[in-house]
Amino acid sequence: MHESIQVKNITKTYDKVIALNSINFEVEKGELFGLIGPDGAGKTTLLRILTSLLVPDSGEAFMNGYHVVKDYKTIRNIAGYMPGRFSLYQDLTVEENLEFFATTFGTTISENYDLIKDIYIQIEPFKTRLAGRLSGGMKQKLALSCALIHKPEILVLDEPTTGVDAVSRKEFWEMLIRLKNQGITIIVSTPYMDEAGMCDRVALMQKGDILQIDTPEDIAGQFAKKVFAVKAENVYNLLRDIQAFEHTHSVYPFGEYLHYISKTTSNIKEELSNYLDSKNHKSVKIMTVKPDIEDCFMELMTKTVNNGE
């Protein structure tokens, strides 16, 4: 059995809103799999179905061969789940929380201490502090420890780094990679494109559909069009003017630059530069950049929007 997670035609609707539209994918054992997409893409719903918290309208899903609806009791033993919202007992201390969840799963802290050691050691100095009074990053580390305490075979993390500072985010991902190296299958959702690069494979999600599944490198590599980073003094006017430009395929803010993709294939740089001069933009800078996963995502999104219309 190579697939840790199998998702087959999973559909879920809330009232009339389609949260998941016939989703299919597989995650291999020991893989770090990312679900990337904006809010409302259906990531949380999908993860809740996998952890047996929700029942899909149609389709099936398996975790290590166990059916997420029929074998939900088994699923609850083999999966470690960290919800998007901080869900530990705020009025218990760090240590009490960990002990509580260890007991809940019929184990003890010392039994699986090896697994959580790397993470727990960072919050151990605060073990008598109430969980509600930890910083965002430490809360997430505690939540991860609690999700790991019963040595799950599959770890399901819902936006674990949302609301966490950049340094803690980086640390957190390093921990995930260490866990992966210990053979735990990890499925993680995130709205941050830059985190996608840390995953083995990612699924780009948008409005209940999976747009593409591949390794982050391949997704970026498949990107056929040239991407230019553009910068000028007045960024707001620049964005408006480029949107009005006849050759523009798409343009969107990317950090301090705008990323520009043209409809034409040749002389893009000169055309754009001439156009911007005619609009009196000052200190214009245009340079070619290597497309990354966010560019792909933007491209895929515009595609689906256009197809939809």
Binding site: R48, L53, L54, S87, L88
Partner: protein, 347 residues
Amino acid sequence: MLILFGMPIAQILIFGYVVTNEIRDAKIAILDFSRDDITREITNKLTSSGYFQVYEVLKSNHDIEPALQRGIVKEVVVFEHDFADNIKRNGSAKVQLIADASDANHANLIVNYTRAIISDYAKDLAGIQNMPLQIVPKVRMLYNEELKGAFMFVPGTMALILMLVSAMMTSISIAREKELGTMEILLVSPLKPVQIILGKVTPYIGIAFINAVVIVLLGIFVFKMPIMGSNTLLMLECLLYITMALSLGILISTMSNSQQVAMFISMLALLLPTMLLSGFIFPIDNMPLVLQWLSYIIPPKYFIIILKNVMLKGTGIFFVWKETLILLSMTIFFIALSVRKFKTRLE
């Protein structure tokens, strides 16, 4: 919307029927030492008035106390020996009215109605026979000789307060987990619903029991309530009642999604029925049949009966085993229903 329009209608109907000071078919017992025409006629007058219903006919003085202890008969009317002869000879005869005053207001009401009927009869008889005569009623309020209001209110208040406090404690407990998101993580653990529910109820039993003890002590020392029966029995019954209320709270909690809803339900759904239909303020016997049936599913009703029996009448478990059994089965029913209703998934 249902609450906005339904509540006032339901309340008006319930209040209108419950809040009355009339008595209707109050059950009485007759102990007639004389068995002559006059006592028979008085008995007929009592029953034909529509206020009373003769539930049993007693044989001796020893039957009086047990009859009242059982709680169905609210008053015993005792006619002295040679009742008719005494009237003919002396122009006066004695009748004793022994009322179950564990519900003081009700007892007062019953006694007054009885007196009025008897003195009416005496007047009629005097008119016919054309001679002054009187029937002297001697009243005894059993279990609460001085008709202290506290004797009536303390058991009712105990039932009300323990019910509300206990139910409220547990009703917010599971709803709070849902609100804080901790339920999500409890659900993905292998804990069984029954473990979660019993785990929620157990610690509160201790807290609520302390409450109960404090209330009983206040009743004894501040309101001078007697405890005629066994202390142990009283405490055990309190414990049972608390557990029942906590289980009811858990049931409310499993069915509501937020603490506010849970609070609202436990206030609304428990406060009014407990006040109106438990026999706390208004005697159940005087309600219309529909409401009387409704009162059978109001748990505090049974606790109030138990309390009055143990505290005022000094009866033992043999007189309250039925009520105890009902409370016990209600507890089990609530726990079982909560476990069934407990959602093992989100939504």
